[in-house]
């Protein structure tokens, strides 16, 4: 990324499209620097939702992703809470800082999803929550006197945890993803991947991908939103590798003289960030290091706009009657 103006390189280029060749350095490219400074000052919001039935390591994974205890683990139900009878939505916010950049991270947890005997419509509270956030944003936007910066509580990304059965997707998984893939970015991951050997993992991934295709579930990054060839080729590579088989851990162990995050079993230590052991590193790079902004943009430009158009059309019809 540009930290310093190129200066002379620009003025001697004659292939600028149509316009006049620059006779000296103007400094237009410092706008990138200005934007960076602004972003650093204001910081930005990121809202991530984790969905999956209990015991799949959702909280552990979020803690591992953001390398801090942002999600409270429920180590035992009997300790303070029973399994909730309906799906609850719990949103916890933290502010984390790295390299001068502040991020307000909100983790939305959904305890009780898929845990009952009868799980009909357990996606409804989640769908309602997502639409409520869009509604809040819409109201703020439509106001006459708007706030300078509308607080963004919309869910930018929903990580759906697939149980590592090794056979097929469950009915509940396909139902949930079908219904929510049009209102939020869904990233499916295979949880607790240390249950499966590498061959089992590959087979399972193939099967899951095929099933997702057959059911018409468009997970993030969606094919229809690829803007240009570069995007398409990058995203194609990612789509081939999804769903990522991840392992989460917040304990450190000593391996070959290095301290690594991992899980210690009687036959070896599973290293979380070792790409030979699991795909956590890939998920993290994809989610945070390359596509974080894209997630927000897709949510804002596409999902939110769809919701807004639907709402305004409803209102319009109401008035026209």
């Amino acid at each position: 990324r540009a930290d310093r103006p190129h200066g002379h390189g620009l003025s001697s280029s004659h292939n600028s499209s149509g316009g006049s060749t620059l006779l000296g350095y103007i400094g237009i490219d410092t706008i990138i620097e200005q934007m960076r400074k602004k972003t650093m000052k204001t910081g930005f919001d990121f809202n991530i939702m984790v969905v999956g039935h209990s015991g799949l390591g959702k909280s552990t994974l979020v803690n591992t992703l953001f390398k801090s205890h942002v999600s409270r683990k429920s180590a035992g139900w009997a300790r303070d809470e029973k399994i909730p009878k309906t799906v609850e939505i719990k949103a916890v916010s933290h502010v984390i800082e790295e390299g001068g950049v502040k991020m307000k991270l909100t983790v939305v947890d959904t305890p009780g999803f898929g845990d009952q005997i009868n799980n009909d419509n357990c996606w409804e509270p989640i769908s309602k929550y997502i639409n409520e956030q869009y509604e809040k944003f819409l109201k703020e936007e439509v106001n006459i006197t708007r706030k300078k910066r509308i607080p963004d509580t919309r869910v930018h990304c929903c990580i759906y945890f697939i149980s590592p059965t090794g056979h097929f997707l469950r009915q509940l998984d396909t139902e949930f993803m079908k219904r929510l893939s049009h209102s939020v970015n869904i990233i499916p991951v295979i949880a607790k991947a240390d249950t499966m050997t590498l061959e089992e993992r590959q087979e399972f991934k193939q099967r899951v991908r095929k099933e997702l295709e057959v059911s018409g579930i468009e997970f993030y990054p969606q094919k229809e939103f690829d803007e240009d060839m570069e995007d398409k080729s990058d995203n194609d590579k990612i789509r081939e590798a999804m769903p990522f088989a991840v392992v989460g851990s917040d304990k450190e162990y000593q391996v070959n003289g290095k301290r690594v995050l991992g899980r210690k079993t009687a036959w070896g230590i599973v290293e979380v960030e070792n790409p030979n052991h699991c795909e956590f590193a890939q998920l993290r790079d994809f989610l945070i290091r390359s596509h974080l902004q894209d997630l927000k943009e897709v949510t804002h430009n596409i999902h939110y706009e769809t919701y807004r158009a639907k709402r305004l059309n409803e209102n319009g019809e109401y008035y026209n009657q």
Binding site: S54, G55, L56, S74, A75, G76, W77, A78, I83, D115, Q116, I117, N118, N119, D120, S163, P164, T165, G166, H167, F168, R170, Q171, L172, E175, K192, D194, T195, T197, L198, R263, K264, T265, A266, W267, G268, I269, V270, E271, N274, N276, H277
Partner: protein
């Protein structure tokens, strides 16, 4: 409810023998007879799909019950819970075992899993009923024992606790079959997580008063120590695999990960060996005995009590459950005959009454007819009289009229005569 029978307290005095009699050979005779007959064992596996049930069965019995030619339920998605049975004949050291594996594909896989335990309960009950019918038959030559001797329940290794589905299922089945809970895919958990998870599960099992299979105490001290060790490890955390991998020059069965090999038969890696020893090598006979003496007897007494309570006043039969069925049948027959007699007498009465009524009705209608007849006659006479009257009047009138006509005629004649006279006289003028 019948509880486990305790070892009988010997009340007969023991005598010492003065020579060798030879009945110490009895166990050998029993052994030889049973080896000739062969053994039967039915094992049921229940759990959500993907928990490694088929792999575990293959590992336990070292056969490919589900192979590429006969794909097991794991290769097919089920929409409803089915109960499938596969039989396999295993021979080892001259002993023959007919092993029946009952699988329940589709359990817990749907979105709405209410009553997914019902097909399982129906299956177990139907097998007990088959045995009951076979036992009650006149010809009991062959009594195949298809009752479910043991149910392995697979718990998903979430690390948290039991799911509501697990608790519901075990609560409903713990008094019908021996339930042994297992933690499936135990290589997901680290040793500490496994300990915590086991403790949590046992706590919840006690909380909900679920009666899982308990190992009987034996008189042998060594055995007791082993049993206590097994009890501490419950529920057993198992890993299944039939793939042979080479580790340190040894060939072991296990799962190959990039970070190591999880050995199936290594006691420190998982409790598979404990399960295998317990299930096959030490407690198979006890499982069958408990099924026969406790679960089957419970089923039988419940079923028979329900049958005898029908048709008889329930308040009378509260203390009569131990009556022999033959006496019960006699009583029933007598009651039936009495009922029939009563019904007959009643019907006779009703018949008599009806006959009387009919007679009365007939009499009434006869009287009625007579009366009408009289009345009609009188009417007729009255009419006749009237008519006579009228005729008389008419005759009178006729006579009058005729008389008048005659007079008129006469007058006319007279008038015409005088006219003639007058005419003649007139002409003279």
């Amino acid at each position: 409810m019948i509880e486990r029978p305790e070892t009988a307290v010997p009340s007969i005095a023991q005598r010492n023998l003065e020579g060798y009699v030879g009945f110490a050979n009895l166990p050998n005779q029993v052994y030889r007879k049973s080896v000739k007959r062969g053994f039967e064992f039915t094992l049921m596996v229940v759990g959500e799909s993907g928990l490694g049930k088929s792999t575990l069965i293959n590992s336990l019995f070292l056969t490919d019950l589900y192979s590429k030619d006969y794909p097991g339920p794991s290769q097919r998605i089920k929409k409803t819970v089915q109960v499938e049975q596969s039989k396999v004949l295993i021979k080892e050291g001259g002993v023959q075992l007919t092993l029946t594996i009952v699988d329940t594909p589709g359990f817990g896989d749907a979105v709405d899993n209410s009553n997914c335990w019902q097909p399982v309960i129906n299956y177990i009950d139907s097998k007990c009923e088959d045995f009951l019918n076979a036992e009650s038959r006149v010809n009991r030559r062959s009594m195949p024992d298809n009752r479910v001797h043991c149910c392995l329940y697979f718990i998903a290794p979430s690390g948290h606790g039991l799911k509501p589905l697990d608790i519901e299922f075990m609560k409903r089945l713990h008094d019908k079959v021996n339930v042994i809970p297992l933690i499936a895919k135990a290589d997901t958990l680290t040793p500490e997580e496994c300990q915590l998870f086991k403790k949590q599960i046992m706590k919840e099992i006690q909380e909900h008063k679920i009666k899982i299979y308990e190992f009987p105490d034996t008189e042998d001290d060594d055995d007791n120590k082993l049993i206590r060790k097994i009890k501490e490890k419950m529920p057993l955390a198992v890993v299944g695999s039939n793939v042979v991998i080479e580790v340190n020059g040894k060939k072991v069965r296990g799962r190959q990960y990039p970070w190591g090999v999880a050995e199936v038969e290594n006691g420190e890696h998982c409790d598979f060996t404990v399960l295998r020893n317990m299930l096959i090598r030490t407690h198979m006979q006890d499982l069958k005995d408990v099924t026969n003496n406790v679960h089957y007897e419970n089923y039988r007494s419940k079923k028979l009590a329900a049958v005898t309570c029908n048709g008889v006043d329930t308040s009378k039969t509260k203390g009569q459950l131990t009556k022999s069925p033959l006496a019960q049948m006699e009583e029933e027959r007598r009651e039936h005959v009495m009922k029939m007699k009563k019904m007959e007498a009643e019907m006779e009465q009703v018949f008599e009454m009806k006959v009387k009524e009919k007679k009365q009705k007939l009499k009434d209608s006869e009287a009625e007819l007579e009366r009408r007849h009289e009345q009609m006659k009188r009417n007729l006479e009255a009419q006749y009289k009237e008519l006579e009257e009228k005729r008389r009047v008419f005759e009178e009138e006729k006579a009058n009229w005729e008389a008048q006509q005659r007079i008129l005629e006469q007058q006319k004649l007279d008038a015409s005569k005088t006219m003639e006279k007058n005419k003649k006289k007139g002409k003279i003028f």
